[in-house]
Symmetry: C2
Subunit: 156 residues, 2 copies
DNA sequence: ATCTGTGCAAACCTTTTGCACGTCA
DNA sequence: TGACGTGCAAAAGGTTTGCACAGAT
């Protein structure tokens, strides 16, 4: 996570932006964040430790993260924007459980390669892509083959 | 498109819903619609010929279409919901041009198969999926001819 | 000292809903 | 006739912005 911190601080000084206490707090909470939290959820979690912080500040800071490349905005169609830590060297896609709302990540080079081929067919220059599989995770699907590994109501 | 009409009318009678003039008008406009219009755009287009119709009616009717299976809701992350005609026998994905906003459809069975394999790996029961490739379409990309890949600064 | 950042509240934008009236069956 | 549908306007749910004060350089 050091890479991302440096990247952000470099971004700040390059743009003549200020390195405030709030930004540091939000940055660390963001990098420590487990998964794909919505701005709202992230904000609520943050307020537990830093009650004085404002939603707008969090929102604007997350936007800065996205602008400088350490965060990626995600939108799973539920009307909420989500942010996740973004690393340069890897791209992953998502499995979204429609029952418990948990989100799992996966990576598949074959699919990525086929996407490039599709793009070539259409003479399309890809800059980004998103692939999401919606359905029931192993904990939520009707007959779990083996033992459920952690019955968790999870988020919300 | 006859299939969809019948499907909708069956749906209406099955649910004891009424077959109003507005619903017919919206249904026909929807089936005639070329591409992935947002509710707002669809509504504006519809009002040209049917100025009396209300946004809420259009919205509720599109939801009915989705519920009965002749429409699929799409969300390309721009904060607007989009509806497209949905056929049972085919699934397609999208190429979204970030310059001209046009949306192209494609179908790739290999990718679909790989998705099923990924799901199996995670013991995930897929009910739906979405794959979108974002970038520049052939009309919008800098040089369509033979630019060596990588000569583009891309986004920001 | 200056210029940016923050927190609050309000604006915004799209989707959804309540309600009184109109319409289909 | 009675239940459902419609159109209007307002609510809701989320994101974004204006502004006056606070803080970083």
């Amino acid at each position: 996570m050091k890479v991302q911190k440096e990247k952000f601080f470099n971004f700040l000084s390059r743009k003549r932006l200020k390195n405030t206490n709030q930004r540091v707090v939000i940055l660390e909470a963001f990098l420590r964040q487990k998964s794909h939290l919505s701005t709202e959820d992230f904000y609520r979690q943050l307020r537990k430790k830093h009650p004085g912080i404002g939603y707008a500040t969090v929102h604007r800071t997350l936007k800065l993260f996205a602008e400088c490349g350490i965060a990626a905005e995600r939108n799973f169609g539920d009307g909420q924007m989500r942010f996740e830590v973004s690393r340069e060297d890897e791209h992953h896609d998502h499995l979204v459980c429609t029952a418990c709302s948990r989100i799992f990540e996966f990576e598949n080079q074959q699919i990525e390669q086929l996407q490039r081929e599709v793009a070539q067919t259409y003479n399309f220059q890809i800059s980004d892509h998103r692939l999401e599989l919606y359905g029931l995770c192993s904990d939520c699907r009707p007959q779990t083959t083996s033992a459920p590994q952690g019955a968790s109501p999870a988020n919300l």
